[in-house]
């Protein structure tokens, strides 16, 4: 027992609880569970159903311990029992052992023990704990329960009910964490099983997490099934860069091939969760289609494989010739897909040769000034009393951030106010959803929000999650709305949610227009006008990503030379004169910056495809071909120089700190946004105004080149309100023509009550006819007519 010194009155924490576990005195906090306190004290209690990130369920009874009570020792379930002052807990007595063995014998009674053919074998809590805490032998000789095994409960998840120990982890996760309660316990007694509704699959963006947390091999994931045994796996901790949430992962390989990513629990970001896209898109890195050698375009326009030296020499010659005309005839688009080091080395190269036209965003982001507003980290944003969302559907674009916001909203720790043109994944958890027509967010807020909302955000802590809510609406429009919000909630802190993996890092490292130079939209317009001689595409594909297909096409056609550094032959790369193969995620070391500005390391696990090299190295070599020495010999050099050169990156000098939680970059003195009258954006009543944002699975490379994900893209479509469909005069499923000022696109039409009347929702960058043909980067909003096919 701890003794309290009555003279020491400083720091008496009213929530501190002290107890003893196996004779060790342990301090905990009021409300902690015994099992959590034991974990902290390194006293391991066996368990199956307990998971520190979910509410306890007390399903498996494996965690029984003895607690001293008024009538002597009694058995309690340590995952359901909170600590108490002076509590005496024992986890290794004869009684406890007997109970643990009994529970394990029962859990194993119906278990098939097919460990030799089970993916989980070797990393299985049931296997491990049967060994460490089990009876060693079973008395059960009767026939075991049999089920068809395994059955697919979704495209990527398989369920083997014979192996299931009914711990309720997967079902709790689906309901409590993901909010997709598409699996549930069904039947009762001996027939109890995890099941979906008949013929309605467990199609959750987060389904892979259930596979990771299943304490047995009952749930397995298609992309990994039978690929490797745990003891064949090599692994390294890293950060997912598929989107800018920056979930912490462990990258696992077997025989120099990526086979699995698992979530790692870090407090400030992902709590162990990953989305399925981030989890399964390692398949793209293993793809046969990866670029593995440099190419040059020959006189007939065909790509011919070549050596690095000739490719770099050609690229250098192009740049040199262009520079001789003017540095303004060279531009760099991209860089948000690489590491901080990649971006910084390219920024250094651009500095060295005087190229100011560089932009890591593809006209689908926000002006870099959003990073100069008073910033919130994810944790700070979640701790606010009110969270205002002026963002796309986060479930689709930044899935694990969606989970974090959903968590505080569900637990009623924060009130979520969303301002959107279409209900989102967070609408069911939101306190208020303000539906605005595209282009009208700023004027709606200016005209006055609901009194209750104004009262809520007028005082207390507020965070604003701001992103590009609609790709058919200008960035300007979002900034104007943000300025209005910051006017009524001046105390608010901002969490910018630009989506591309390392966009914040790339911008901060210098891949953003310098000295007022052209941004991506302007660069493309200049190129279209014949004013760009050499265009460098740094892991970017304007033809697929710029929300104005026509501009991108004209820009690429107008640039005399295109140098593309990429991992795949994308539509844009196939137009390039010089193609340089880049090392992909998992093939290079470095650091990345997530949306809140957290810098953490990413690690190499496998050898790059063919002769592919990291972008930073290409920059260094190109610089030297141009007679410039960047003084960067290794990735560590680049990190060090970055930390020294760019003030925000200074914390990255402590490379150790980058390894797990990472460090948040230095913040600048915040600026304030000026309000301005938004254009009226009125329209003709026959028009539909376009709302467009990405779905998680789109035509992007990481989905398109991952066989397990590619089929999950919904395909190009136009969705309208059911009453509007009547107005068009067709049936759902029919093809209609969507007629914009710039183009007419034929698309299948469907309906949803979620779509505001008079608006049309078009998912961005889906396989099929391309909605971006109608978009215009220079327009605030895009209005179209929708008509029957004639």
């Amino acid at each position: 027992m701890t003794t309290v010194d009555p003279t020491n009155t400083t720091h008496v924490d009213p929530n501190a609880v002290s107890l003893t576990i196996n004779g060790k005195s342990v301090s905990a906090r009021k409300g902690d569970l015994i099992i959590a306190a034991a974990d902290k004290a390194n006293e391991f209690i066996p368990r199956f159903c307990y998971h520190p990130r979910m509410a306890p369920a007390g399903m498996c009874r494996q965690c029984l311990v003895e607690v001293e009570g008024p009538r002597g020792p009694m058995m309690v379930v340590s995952c359901m029992t909170p600590v108490a002052e002076g509590q005496v807990v024992r986890t290794e007595t004869e009684q406890v052992k007997k109970a643990q063995e009994g529970v394990l014998e029962l859990l194993l009674a119906n278990h098939p023990l097919d460990c030799p053919v089970c993916d989980k074998g070797g990393e299985c809590p049931l296997q491990d704990q049967a060994f460490s805490h089990g009876p060693g032998e079973s008395r059960y000789v009767e026939e075991k329960r049999h089920y068809e095994k395994p059955i697919a409960i979704s495209d990527n998840v398989f369920l083997d009910r014979e192996r299931c120990i009914l711990c309720d982890r997967c079902t709790r996760f689906a309901d409590e964490v993901a909010g997709d309660a598409l699996i549930s316990f069904t039947s009762r007694g001996n027939n109890t099983q995890v099941m979906t509704f008949p013929d309605e699959p467990f199609s959750s963006y987060f389904s892979g997490n259930t596979v990771q947390i299943c304490p047995v091999g009952a749930l397995t994931a298609k992309p990994y099934r039978f690929k490797a045994r745990p003891w064949d796996l090599d692994q390294v901790e890293s950060t997912c860069t598929t989107c800018s949430v920056g979930c912490r992962t462990v990258v696992q390989s077997s025989r120099d091939e990526l086979v699995r990513y698992q979530g790692v629990d870090i407090d400030p970001v992902n709590w162990g969760w990953l989305c399925d896209k981030g989890r399964f898109n390692f398949e793209a890195i293993n793809s046969e289609d990866r670029l593995s050698t440099p190419y040059l375009k020959d006189a007939h326009g065909n790509h011919v494989a070549t050596t690095w030296s000739s490719a770099l020499e050609t690229a250098a010659r192009m740049i040199r010739t262009s520079l001789a005309t003017s540095p303004e005839s060279v531009a760099i688009i991209g860089g948000a897909r690489g590491t901080n080091e990649d971006a910084f080395a390219w920024a250094q190269l651009a500095d060295a040769i005087g190229v100011d036209q560089r932009d890591a965003q593809l006209a689908d982001g926000l002006p870099a000034e959003v990073f100069s507003l008073a910033q919130a980290t994810i944790d700070e944003a979640m701790a606010a009393q009110t969270i205002i969302l002026l963002a796309p559907d986060l479930k689709e674009e930044l899935p694990v951030l969606h989970l974090r916001i959903r968590d505080v909203a569900q637990k009623r720790k924060a009130k979520v106010v969303e301002i959107t043109s279409r209900p989102t994944g967070l609408t069911p958890s939101a306190w208020k959803s303000v539906m605005v027509e595209p282009g009208k967010a700023a004027s709606t807020i200016r005209a006055g929000l609901d009194q209750s909302i104004l009262k809520q955000i007028g005082s207390g802590t507020v965070s604003v999650v701001v992103g590009r809510m609609n790709l058919a609406e200008s960035a300007e429009s979002v900034v104007l709305a943000l300025a209005e919000i910051l006017h009524v909630a001046p105390q608010a802190k901002v969490l910018p949610v630009l989506r591309r993996g390392n966009v914040r890092g790339a911008i901060t490292a210098g891949l953003t227009p310098q000295r007022g130079a052209a941004d991506t939209a302007e660069i493309l317009a200049l190129a279209a006008a014949g004013k760009i001689d050499t265009l460098v595409l740094l892991g970017s594909d304007p033809l697929s990503d710029v929300p104005d297909a026509d501009l991108a096409r004209r820009g690429l056609a107008g640039a005399r030379n295109i140098i593309s550094i990429d991992t795949f032959m994308t539509p844009s790369t196939s137009q390039a004169d010089v193609v340089l193969p880049a090392a992909a995620y998992g093939e290079k070391n470095g650091t990345t910056t997530n949306l809140e500005g957290r810098i953490s390391n990413i690690a190499q696990k496998i050898t790059p495809a063919g002769t592919a090299r990291p972008d930073w190295m290409i920059a260094v070599e190109l610089a030297s071909a141009l007679g410039k020495d960047l003084g960067l010999g290794s990735v560590e050099d680049v990190t060090a120089k970055l930390a020294k050169t760019v003030a925000q990156f200074a914390p990255a000098a402590d490379t150790k700190a980058l390894r797990h939680d990472g460090v948040v970059m230095n913040r600048l003195t915040p600026i304030t946004l000026n309000r301005a009258e938004a254009p009226a954006n009125d329209r003709n009543s026959y028009d539909y105004r376009i709302v467009s944002f990405r779905k998680l699975y789109d035509s992007g490379i990481s989905t398109a080149k991952s066989p397990s994900l590619v089929t999950l893209a919904i395909g190009a479509t136009v969705v309208v309100h059911p009453l509007d469909l009547d107005r068009i005069g067709v049936q759902a499923g029919a093809h209609v023509q969507v007629i914009g000022e710039k183009a007419t696109v034929v698309l299948p039409v469907s309906t949803s009550e979620d779509v505001l009347r008079g608006t049309a929702w078009l998912p961005f960058n889906q396989p099929g006819n391309d909605a971006r043909e109608m978009f215009d980067v220079n327009a605030t909003v895009v209005d179209v007519r929708i008509e029957k096919l004639s």
Partner: protein, 204 residues
């Protein structure tokens, strides 16, 4: 009609309003749905999920926990034969055996003409009258094989139409809570005082 009828949707909403959390109404709603069609259809489960704000999978999970909810179409008459202790001692086993012969189906099956579904049931709370059965939830007590035969023959001949209702009109009595007696849908944690009708009097 496999979704709830409009009239039943009205009843469903009335039931939901009795609970502080809509999903608490799921069991009575499942009963309502089974009462309408004799079994619970897939469409009904989807609809109930929408009505109380849970997923179809959750409705399915709840419904399948209870053995007397049925998910396959049943005959015009559903015969639930008690097989629990008192009835078992009083010959329920033999009676079931006889019933299977008489109807030509095994327990759980439905006759080819769609008239009868024969089912095992647990104690029907009429143990003093063992062995018992229910046909469309109407009791028959101290049933002998001969009683069973004549019951079947009468049903086939349409003689019991008054006494034994059809699926869809099974419930004759509906719970109604008069406005002045209801405590309203207040979540337990929000209860601060006794119900109005207690009028300050102690509860017991």
């Amino acid at each position: 009609m496999s979704r709830l009828t409009d009239a039943n949707v009205v009843i469903a909403k009335e039931i939901i309003a009795r609970y502080p959390r809509a999903k608490s109404a799921l069991i009575p709603l499942l009963h309502l749905s089974q009462e309408q069609n004799g079994y619970i259809t897939r469409e009904a489960m989807v609809q109930l999920g929408e009505l109380v704000g849970v997923t179809s999978a959750e409705v399915y999970g709840t419904a399948t926990f209870y053995e007397m909810f049925r998910f396959e179409p049943v005959g015009k008459y559903l015969i639930n034969m008690c097989g629990t202790m008192s009835c078992a001692l009083m010959g329920a086993g033999e009676l079931m055996h006889h019933a299977e012969h008489k109807l030509g189906v095994k327990a759980g099956g439905t006759t080819d003409d769609g008239m009868f579904t024969l089912a095992h049931a647990e104690c029907q709370a009429a143990c003093t009258e063992a062995p018992t059965l229910q046909v469309n939830y109407r009791y028959r007590f101290r049933v002998t094989p001969a009683d069973f035969d004549s019951l079947i023959d009468d049903l086939r001949a349409g003689k019991l139409a008054d006494e034994i209702p059809q699926h869809g009109v099974l419930a004759k009595v509906r719970q109604r809570i008069p406005a002045d007696k209801g405590v309203g849908a207040v979540a337990p944690e929000d209860v601060t005082e006794g119900p109005a009708w207690l009028d300050g009097k102690p509860a017991l």
